[in-house]
């Protein structure tokens, strides 16, 4: 056990050093991942609804549009969420549904798979268009007993469809949430995120979270970077969703094409 911890610490040092190297010169061969022991894999290989032993649903509109004035009603209908051809399909639709103008889906591993530290990544093809707001993210497993943002939020990948070449990774915690969250964006060179699948991940350990897209490590967040308590040394659960509208992306416009689908090839967790 001690030995293992030692190994991880070595990995941390390596990752930190790597970052410095990237900061000075772009090294395409840079190793961005160090955690390689697979502890969870969700390959979305069985057609139909997501595996209920791993995923549950958020249904409805939440309070104030899930806190962001989002416009969609989340459902568990196959029109909004299903597994097909080896991918999870979350589909945002423009339709009148129980008082909302849009429907979509949001699934989470709360109480089913919760993880403290590790490498958490997903391979995703993103949708596009103004007002489309997909995310691959995590909330603190204590979120029922501890109020957000004290419970913590790690946004591994967020994206708004009106900026198809850019994603961003963010942490929210006490004193640094909402508009004050610690965030960094990554712009894909000579391509866009709705053209094909890309890998979005973090390597997360004690007192650090490293963000990567494909083979590019683009940020590290440590307690030094946050204006408050570091709340990420505890288990978190995973969330996948597409929001429509809301404070961040603004509402869809007449040019937004519906339906819009996020394809998730897999979610994998390594230690």
């Amino acid at each position: 056990m001690n030995k293992k911890i030692q190994l991880i610490k070595n990995s941390i040092l390596f990752a930190t050093t790597s970052l410095l190297v990237i900061g000075c010169s772009i090294d395409e061969k840079q190793t961005v991942i160090t955690k390689t022991q697979l502890v969870m894999q969700e390959e979305f290989d069985t057609n139909g609804a997501p595996n209920p032993s791993m995923w549950s649903y958020n249904i409805g509109t939440g309070a104030n549009g899930w806190g962001n004035n989002e416009l969609q009603y989340y459902t568990d209908r196959p029109e909004n969420i299903t597994i097909e051809n080896g991918s999870l399909k979350i589909t945002a639709r423009k339709e009148l549904y129980l008082g909302s103008s849009y429907t979509s889906a949001r699934i989470l591993t709360k109480g089913k798979f919760e993880q403290k530290y590790g490498r958490i990544e997903a391979r995703i093809k993103l949708p596009w268009g103004k007002g489309i707001w997909p995310a691959f993210w995590m909330l603190g497993a204590n979120s029922d007993t501890v109020l957000w943002p004290q419970s913590g939020e790690i946004d591994i990948m967020e994206y708004i469809g009106s900026k198809p070449t850019q994603v961003f990774g963010t942490v929210h915690g006490p004193g640094y949430s909402g508009g004050e969250a610690i965030s960094k964006s990554y712009t894909l060179p000579n391509d866009r995120f709705d053209n094909d699948f890309h890998i979005f991940g973090i390597e997360w350990g004690e007192n650090y979270i490293n963000y990567y897209v494909d083979d590019v490590l683009y940020n590290q967040i440590t307690p030094k970077d946050v204006e408050g308590e570091w709340v990420f040394n505890q288990p978190f659960y995973i969330i996948l969703n597409i929001a429509v509208g809301g404070n961040l992306p603004g509402s869809p416009n007449s040019e937004t094409v519906f339906p819009q689908t996020m394809l998730v090839d897999y979610v994998r967790v390594y230690e």
């Binding site: 596009w128 198809p164 070449t165 000579n190 866009r192 709705d194």
Partner: protein, 461 residues
């Protein structure tokens, strides 16, 4: 792999020429690149622009540039400039065309001497056949350098393109006052960030047309919209050559590569277009009702006829065949041509005025007016058709106190359905018409909102 290479070497000369086409991206950086000597062709005079583009509107500006030492400068003249009232032209390679298949956009940096909207920027115009002409309209330029992207609709088509750049700019947006804009770093690029191309025909609308065998219809208004890396949708106007047209029922209506549709037999056919692997929005539905019955060909000697509308004679000048007289007129013209025979087609017909006042007609030597009419639908009981001949009097203009007219009313059994009805009215039966020296209008009345075809309108003796 080796075999393939050997075959490549054995291809004939034409293929080798194609394979060797330059794929140079740059058009203008600090000088024109790979354009040859004689590459700039300003637009000439035309029906809409009697003067044409000012010849020296384009120059190389050695003092202004986004990058490097020079830029392309476009001086848009004042609208009253005697040397040309707008600026426009093409940059066409003086030499072999380029292979642009590896690129996805034409890009450039631009700014203007004031905020302006430039009418058209694009490429693919080569005088002629302008096969792949591609244009972005109404580009807003500010006074600071900004990068612009014109998506290439389908680069796989551009294997040998000479039309590198085209522009047209006027002063509609500046109250006739001239201005200058600059373009720099003009080149093709592979951005990789342009996506979701969606083409449209007929402005994206689903249009229906009733036709006869032999009628030609046109698919037009081709465009495609692309999502740019900025997230903004950019529309470009396309030529037909980027699209493949498809008829759902080729025995009813065929469509050629340019979008001209020919009705062939009775039935329904939907014409759509493919853009690469995607289907363009918009369509034209042809409802062909069968073979058209032509009006009898007039037999009067041309010397004894003053013709307003007939393919059998040379027509005198006619101001219009439908004056769209407001506020009461509902009649809409959907005139058609069947196998070279032009037919006036009045739909939603209540009344319509035909005017030929510039100049008026002196029919003093004539004895009759003739027209052929056809009611393709049922005729309601009591239905009238009134033919009114109007003389503008000695002053030759409408009103003025000396206009005279006579209205002749026709009813069943003269009026029948689905048959050409020849109408001949002698002037001797038009007591209300005090003169026929200044004939200027022929008015048809009595419609009930149905359809009326008219052909062969003439005065004769």
């Amino acid at each position: 792999m080796s075999l393939l290479l050997v075959f490549g070497c054995q291809n004939d000369d034409a293929d080798l020429q194609t394979a060797k086409a330059s794929s140079t991206a740059e058009i203008f950086i600090d000088t024109p690149i790979g354009m040859g000597t004689n590459f700039y062709f300003p637009y000439g005079a035309g029906p809409d622009n009697p003067i044409g583009s000012k010849l020296n509107a384009w120059s190389v500006d050695q003092k202004v540039s986004y990058k490097g030492t020079a830029s392309m400068r476009f001086d848009v003249p004042n609208s009253n400039d005697p040397e040309g009232n707008y600026a426009g032209g093409i940059f066409k390679i003086d030499g072999a065309g380029r292979d642009l298949t590896q690129y996805d956009a034409l890009t450039f940096w631009a700014k203007a001497s004031q905020g302006v909207t430039v009418a058209e920027l694009g490429f693919g115009e080569d005088f002629f056949p302008n096969k792949y002409i591609t244009t972005v309209r109404n580009i807003t330029l500010g006074t600071t350098w900004t990068k612009f992207i014109i998506p290439i609709p389908d680069a796989s088509k551009l294997v040998l393109e000479k039309g590198m750049f085209r522009y047209a700019a006027n002063t509609n947006d500046t109250n006739g006052k001239g201005y200058t804009f600059w373009i720099d770093e003009l080149k093709f690029e592979k951005l990789g960030t342009i996506a979701h191309g969606q083409a449209s025909i007929m402005n994206g609308n689903n249009i229906s047309q009733t036709t006869f065998v032999g009628v030609k219809s046109t698919i037009d208004n081709f465009a495609a919209t692309f999502n740019l890396p900025s997230g903004i949708n950019q529309a470009v106007s396309l030529s037909s050559a980027y699209l493949t047209f498809v008829s759902s029922n080729p025995s009813v209506a065929s469509v050629d590569a340019t979008g001209v549709v020919t009705s062939l037999s009775a039935g329904t056919a939907v014409i759509t277009a493919k853009f690469g692997d995607t289907v363009a929005t918009g369509s034209l539905t042809i409802n062909c009702v069968g073979t058209f019955v032509h009006a009898p060909t007039p037999t009067k000697t041309a010397a004894n006829v003053i013709s307003l509308f007939s393919n059998a004679y040379t027509n005198v000048p006619v101001n219009y065949y439908n004056g769209y007289w407001q506020p009461w007129q509902t009649t809409v013209s959907n005139d058609f041509t069947v196998n070279g025979d032009d037919v006036l087609n009045y739909t939603i017909f209540n009344f319509v005025g035909i005017e030929y006042s510039s100049p008026t007609i002196n029919a003093t030597a004539m004895t009759h007016v003739h027209l052929d009419v056809f009611f393709p639908g049922p005729i309601a009981p009591g239905r009238q058709l009134r033919v009114i001949v109007v003389d503008f009097g000695a002053d030759g203009v409408f009103n003025g106190g000396d206009d005279t007219r006579h209205s002749t009313t026709f009813t069943a059994p003269t009026l029948v359905t689905n048959k050409w009805i020849g109408i001949d009215i002698p002037f001797s039966s038009m007591p209300g018409l005090l003169s026929r020296a200044h004939l200027a209008q022929l008015i048809l009345e009595g419609g009930d909102g149905s359809v009326l075809y008219v052909d062969n309108i003439y005065y004769y003796k």
